[in-house]
Symmetry: C2
């Protein structure tokens, strides 16, 4: 089946709620990963509740992000930037970054990473 086209409804994919000192109000769904047959890069969908945030961190791999709905505050070494619905965000390897939802609406974004960047 690994040579077949695989369609997945994101609503039917198991959500992983992330909650720790470093990350709050974040739900992650792996849309395209190893089990889809992908080997090179993986696609994840993240939801951030109002007030939610991802870790403020840096790592060797890049992120390629597309804001599906809502508005994301992106913390970077060069300051805080706003990414609205329909915007893309490229986070190069080793760049400091954090995604925050500072609005009263839920936010959804796609984040694609090399397979080495997804457990």
């Amino acid at each position: 089946m690994k040579d077949n086209v695989v369609i997945a409804n994101s609503r039917e994919i198991e959500p992983h709620v992330l909650d720790s000192d470093e990350v709050k109000g974040v739900t992650k769904r792996v849309l395209i990963g190893r089990s889809s047959g992908a080997t090179n890069f993986f696609m994840r969908l993240f939801s951030l509740e109002p007030g939610g945030y991802s870790p403020l961190h840096r790592h060797s791999w890049e992120h390629e992000v597309f804001i599906v709905s809502g508005e994301v505050t992106v913390v970077t070494e060069e300051g805080v930037k706003i990414a609205k619905e329909g915007a893309s965000v490229f986070v190069p390897g080793n760049a400091l970054h954090q995604f925050r939802n500072e609005t009263s609406q839920s936010v959804e974004f796609i984040c694609v990473v090399p397979s080495s960047g997804e457990e």
Copy 2:
């Protein structure tokens, strides 16, 4: 600037209208490409007008797709499949595929490819 986080508003990115015998009613925007500093994989946004379609073809590289709005008809070797808003589509390397808009509404989807798959 290549080590910086790059945010782009998709509405401000130059559209490329694709029109030939093999492709109709398709607009492509490269959201994250070489000029953003990406080297590994690239993110493009496609719009399909009602009746529009991408080529029916196969190639060595994979596609990782997310349907942002509307409903896409995906032609595959295993038959025709429907991908609705919020769905992901994984097209493995060498799999036959075509994306068609058989609805009366415009469709938008993200398509991520390895850099070797984008001119």
